[in-house]
Symmetry: D3
Amino acid sequence: MRPSNRRPDELRPVRITRHYTCHAEGSVLVEFGNTKVICTATVEESVPPFLRGKGQGWVTAEYGMLPRSTHSRMRREAASGKQGGRTLEIQRLIGRSLRAVVDLQKLGERQIVIDCDVIQADGGTRTASITGAFVALTDAINGLIAAGKLTESPIKEAVAAISVGVFEGTPVLDLDYPEDSACETDMNVVMAESGHFIEIQGTAEGVPFSRAEMNALLDLAEKGIRELLALQQQALAG
Amino acid sequence: MRPSNRRPDELRPVRITRHYTCHAEGSVLVEFGNTKVICTATVEESVPPFLRGKGQGWVTAEYGMLPRSTHSRMRREAASGKQGGRTLEIQRLIGRSLRAVVDLQKLGERQIVIDCDVIQADGGTRTASITGAFVALTDAINGLIAAGKLTESPIKEAVAAISVGVFEGTPVLDLDYPEDSACETDMNVVMAESGHFIEIQGTAEGVPFSRAEMNALLDLAEKGIRELLALQQQALAG
Amino acid sequence: MRPSNRRPDELRPVRITRHYTCHAEGSVLVEFGNTKVICTATVEESVPPFLRGKGQGWVTAEYGMLPRSTHSRMRREAASGKQGGRTLEIQRLIGRSLRAVVDLQKLGERQIVIDCDVIQADGGTRTASITGAFVALTDAINGLIAAGKLTESPIKEAVAAISVGVFEGTPVLDLDYPEDSACETDMNVVMAESGHFIEIQGTAEGVPFSRAEMNALLDLAEKGIRELLALQQQALAG
Amino acid sequence: MRPSNRRPDELRPVRITRHYTCHAEGSVLVEFGNTKVICTATVEESVPPFLRGKGQGWVTAEYGMLPRSTHSRMRREAASGKQGGRTLEIQRLIGRSLRAVVDLQKLGERQIVIDCDVIQADGGTRTASITGAFVALTDAINGLIAAGKLTESPIKEAVAAISVGVFEGTPVLDLDYPEDSACETDMNVVMAESGHFIEIQGTAEGVPFSRAEMNALLDLAEKGIRELLALQQQALAG
Amino acid sequence: MRPSNRRPDELRPVRITRHYTCHAEGSVLVEFGNTKVICTATVEESVPPFLRGKGQGWVTAEYGMLPRSTHSRMRREAASGKQGGRTLEIQRLIGRSLRAVVDLQKLGERQIVIDCDVIQADGGTRTASITGAFVALTDAINGLIAAGKLTESPIKEAVAAISVGVFEGTPVLDLDYPEDSACETDMNVVMAESGHFIEIQGTAEGVPFSRAEMNALLDLAEKGIRELLALQQQALAG
Amino acid sequence: MRPSNRRPDELRPVRITRHYTCHAEGSVLVEFGNTKVICTATVEESVPPFLRGKGQGWVTAEYGMLPRSTHSRMRREAASGKQGGRTLEIQRLIGRSLRAVVDLQKLGERQIVIDCDVIQADGGTRTASITGAFVALTDAINGLIAAGKLTESPIKEAVAAISVGVFEGTPVLDLDYPEDSACETDMNVVMAESGHFIEIQGTAEGVPFSRAEMNALLDLAEKGIRELLALQQQALAG
């Protein structure tokens, strides 16, 4: 039995609120149950130095957590003077996941910066971030099209992400914090609309996992991501 | 005429939402018009090294802005590796303002850390932070009383803060960003329930200001803070 | 009774020594009693990136304390790897105070950097810094005029600063360290020759202060700054 | 055809040299073709603060590259003042992979620090590091047993790692740099002797990958890791 | 001919002013011509971690330059976030030079921190620092004896330092900045009262130097240091 | 008697292995007994900002130690966020030593970066670094000549370095770690093929040293460096 009484293949209630803050070109509050992340997309009419003059754009991401988004207060990274390894790992993952669905040539020499800031954490912040960030990115790109700066969308397909894991011997979908901190195996899956994978990161926290367990987890992940992709479309249609 | 069509002595719509996030001992979303700040209060059962064994507590604050809380994206301080001068200045001001209304002996050897994180900025983030932080602090202290860890409240009186300034020759209350960036003189006033001042910080952005102007600004500030103190009480009673 | 036996409205002996070191375009040793600060002004024929090509100049300041300028040794900021919040706050104040009396258009595309380094501290280092820095700035600008690089002075009026506070119930002028560390209310006032204010920063260290106390402190500050402005003129005439 | 003329399921020549440097408790040079990594294991008779007094040990890892281990010189991380995101990601992976095969209770209150330093890079540095680090860790633990500090080995089973990827449409084993920089999908697999997985990290560099491709890659990885586990045993027996 | 018209074996005018600032246990302004350094000695009743409980003391040094002590302004090290290599090199040299003449056992478990801060630079700042620091150290130690904390002086003998160099083919004593920046060979010599050397650091800036040149430079240095040792004694007797 | 049973004037076995790693323009493993350093030379077709457009080149060096190159593990400088004073001092010494034998005009507007990374330490790492770095530099420059980018070698003469010291009263050549940590006086000597000195750094670790001791040490150093220069030539001829 899951602590939240969910079925093994049941997502938490997911909400995607567009136009959440007023300044960014895309701004989304994404909620996976009690996990809440603000995802903004900023359009910058320049690219990082390594891309200058190459006729292509870039999509990058930064990730942060408010110090008291968690059960006990975490040290503020701005105060400690550096971003931790987990933060860097997550923001690199978000950036790669979004770049995989964007045609950077079509984007032109501009950069879209995604900021994912967790205001409340209950497990799955990185997968919520990717799922929400895609909607913010889409809003920002639609803004470029509306402004006549782009004639066609450089977005190739949608992308969403979910965590899955083996909790007390059972493969479950969308781990919340109590599950995440107790589970034996934890996998984050990023999948595109086509059903193909962009990232799979599986980690045995305790006992190494078998090929069969892995397959069961991937089945769950595919189901969950299908639902998330539908929710993204609903939000964008709303 | 003010860009927002407000009267010179009119606050923006102020909203104070308690229990905004779920983990912190006090958690408040404070809104002064489009300025939105999450203020959390964390209780730690230890004090900083300089106070160990002295039988008194401490209240301190940290402040941050989400990178895209502003019109154009600011660099993330965690990524740049240090907090800027403005950030440090504001978080020192918030900490001093709250300590001025708390009896640190009565608090006992524990620390309350206030985090003020701006999710949307439109001027007045530091005064909104102080005003919201007082409510979060009160909730955290009431929690300590409810838990039997304190028998009486160490809070001596309420505190709130507002900005005032001379905009196009007229003293006005609660500057929003268009006013703040154009005004000649800018003053942040922190006042306690008793009507006495805790901090007054007046700066001539352009033309130095006279004693008479200063007095007019203080009159406006007193009026505004009285209204904020009433709104805090309403929120705490709610 | 003040620890120094001064009358409530009495400044400490103030000395302003020009040409204190030999390399800088302006170099002043300013002494407020035992507080001693070296203020140098450096002329740089370039402006910071955010001003390039805008046809105006800039004045900025940096502040530091020798590790053993104080009663007990402070950690060297260069060794700890960052400037503390108090340092940043003070140097921002010095910079704003000087910019308020300089016509940056008339200065042309050049920058004047003021360095205020405290070699001995006994309270009031920031106000001594501003008072001395104005003299160093004036010498640097007069050098530009003498060299034919400027035809008229961009200095609009003189500026000086003093601290005032309520010590054992009495408003006093120019706090020394024993007063500063014991006083209830502490105010730093920066005023221009015109008698108008550039900055007022009042802080209740212990008990919040009333409007009446504030007015008494401002009266004292005006008297003290008038005397400092006269001493600056004497030094510049010397 | 692979640039190295290897068959799709062929590892590069692998060499594991024990006792490579003289001071560390375990010291291994591991070579996967032209990729060369020095892996040392250091035994420290203390644990990090978060584990003190809990009666268990810890295994952690650090990773670095010599500036000119690569085709063009990389900036020295010690000079730039921080470890990059890739470095942190890799050293976290190495640490997790080794902890997964060590019984930390049996290790007792001591820490083993693994340092993996790449002296020459040609793809696969993280998987070579894990493979070599396991041998260095085993030597260090055998030293503890020989010294009578441990009575039984806390090592539960062996671990090794390999990269696999889709290169020009074909799944291949043990990517070298020319393959790694051109491949569509890249997967790092960490597997224990039991045939169960510890980490799977698959990334679509270009085109998202299907479930079938993933399965082909995992088959290759299993084959390669079996060979590596045998080579580790040979080296430890030697 | 030397730019200063000095004879090859002539020191610049040297002045040693004790009790230069009021808080430190030893405080000296040392002047070698236009080079001016404030040297303070701080007594701390604790030792660094690596010496705790070993029954011996420590002497260490820090060095800094005011940003405008030099011809053109140098970046403030506190602002750039780290001490440069030259700074670290010099402060390590000062520390070693003083420790060489102090019996650290006799000093007891306390530390003396020497701060050398250059307020005006014209060559030879490190040798002036050592020469002045010895006087500040002696004052601090005499204070400990006067306070009954030490019964005998741990100072074994005096130490002073001077620079020598080959300038336009001629060995000269006590290089000033114009000589230092143009000379072929530069040597800093630290010598104790006994006539034995504590440090010799010779560097060929341009052309490598012969054994004969080196001997001529050491002869000059011995002569100069003899004079400095006498000036130290005069100052301490004063 | 020396711990290694060497005669006082006997070097440790010295080995110089060229082409040690495959990517760098020059790559040498230098061994002085158990001290092993990888020295690479990287050619960059640009110069640092302070030299741009001056028609001359630059040679610079960086130095590092693997964390477990030493008896007990040292903290990784990349992890601690800065290079220590000893590291900076050594890399400055290596850079100066090499620049002294290179005609920077002839090198043209390009930079050669030398990286010296200690993989095993047993005393004398800086002198081994200089000795090995010269060979790597020569290989890199010969590569430029072979590629037609230089028509004649900018190398003026060879350079090598050795440490000497007074160990238990006897001057000895090429200190290993047991000697280095126990010796009274320690001197590092950098000498060119011409027999002239480039750097002499003598330090009294315990008792100050006399002129006679210094001369004995220099005699030893000259003998040792002559042997090293011959070994460099052999290696380059090999």
